[in-house]
Subunit: 226 residues, 2 copies
């Protein structure tokens, strides 16, 4: 298959495919002559994975390169690949380091030891949790830590579900990719479900009338006020 067909089959433009190759997300096609290369099904599959991680998972191009390098590393234990993927899902890196931040980190450390979770305390996920709790504390919602365990129960349930799902995979190479897909896309699934459950529960509780909120405008990014 040449690049044009790869483009047609995946809906990704030819210049974009070239860009992904340049950025190391996609291996180059096999050169059959100085300016002709052929691409196989692996390329097609990889390209779809890239688009999923990008569009649905919200990962950055450089992060996808990291994750895919981990996926392709045959030496690597499965659970560290999963960690590599999970570590790319959080927010920004820097944040001011005030009293709330320190208290939140302490709360997270306490929570982790209480739960007995096997996790390194300085992992990006733990840092994200601390950042979120610190932000809540700054907004007068320090009491949110009290519901952490309810959240954690739900998180554990989802993690068990995911693991069982990944275990279905027969081949090990499918397991690695499946774990990444489950980690990243599962996040999007859970997030959308939570939002819908939220709206459902809130509508039942506070208002019986249908939604008043306008659907998103046809195309543009929301620039209106409502």
């Amino acid at each position: 298959m040449r690049i044009g067909e790869l483009s047609r089959r995946t809906g990704v433009s030819v210049p974009t495919i070239k860009y992904y190759v340049r950025e190391g997300l996609l291996p180059p096609g096999e050169l059959t002559s100085p300016n002709q290369a052929s691409y196989g099904e692996a390329h097609e599959r990889r390209l779809r994975l890239i688009r999923a991680l990008l569009d649905v998972g919200g990962l950055k191009v450089a992060e996808i390169a990291d994750v895919l390098a981990a996926v392709d590393d045959r030496e690597r234990p499965l659970h560290t690949v999963l960690g590599a993927a999970a570590d790319r899902l959080g927010g920004a890196d820097a944040e001011d380091d005030d009293a709330e931040a320190a208290a939140a980190r302490a709360a997270v450390a306490d929570f982790l030891s209480r739960r007995g979770w096997v996790t390194y305390e300085s992992s990006p996920a733990a840092a994200d949790l601390a950042r979120a709790l610190a932000a809540m504390a700054r907004l007068g919602h320090g009491a949110f830590v009290e519901v952490l365990d309810d959240y954690a129960d739900a998180a554990e349930q989802v993690a068990r579900t995911d693991l069982a799902y990944v275990d279905r995979q027969v081949a090990v190479e499918d397991m690695v990719e499946g774990a990444v897909i489950g980690t990243v896309l599962g996040e999007a699934v859970l997030s959308s479900l939570r939002r819908m459950a939220h709206v459902d529960a809130s509508a039942r509780r506070y208002g019986a009338d249908g939604p008043r909120e306008r659907k998103r405008p046809p195309h543009g990014h929301a620039a209106h006020r409502e």
Copy 2:
């Protein structure tokens, strides 16, 4: 309080505060003379909320303007404000519309009616769910729909927790803001917890040795390969 003190107390630079005012995120200070304005505690609180929605929630500036306009609208029923906030949390808008997308939308519609969730089928959350499921199907993980109900159970549990938490709020104006905070920051909390639970469960199952993954580099966005 003048703008300099507001800046010092929140850690947001003066030009950035001015930028937020220009973009309609923050009401302007009350002018005491043609070029002096005074800011109050409400401004400080609002500014912290803006930073939380931006840094932790990952909302865009224009989206935050929408959400805050909804929060400030006294006429608006609480649950529609919550919907407005939830609707800003998803992914992009456009996507190619192939067979997988259609099947995913049908699966979502089926799922919603089965669950009996009060939600409009064309809501951004439902669209996000359909997009995630379509991406999974394209990657050969169409079977993921089979675990949707497990995910939904967890989502419902979280939604119940959130609602109970918001209900603690005594004043109604605090409820509105609390609901937004809970919706947006709760997402970050749940996401980080899921990632940690994931790593924990996977480490217990597949590898007993500690994490091999390097922590994030001190500052830069991940540009390394590992």
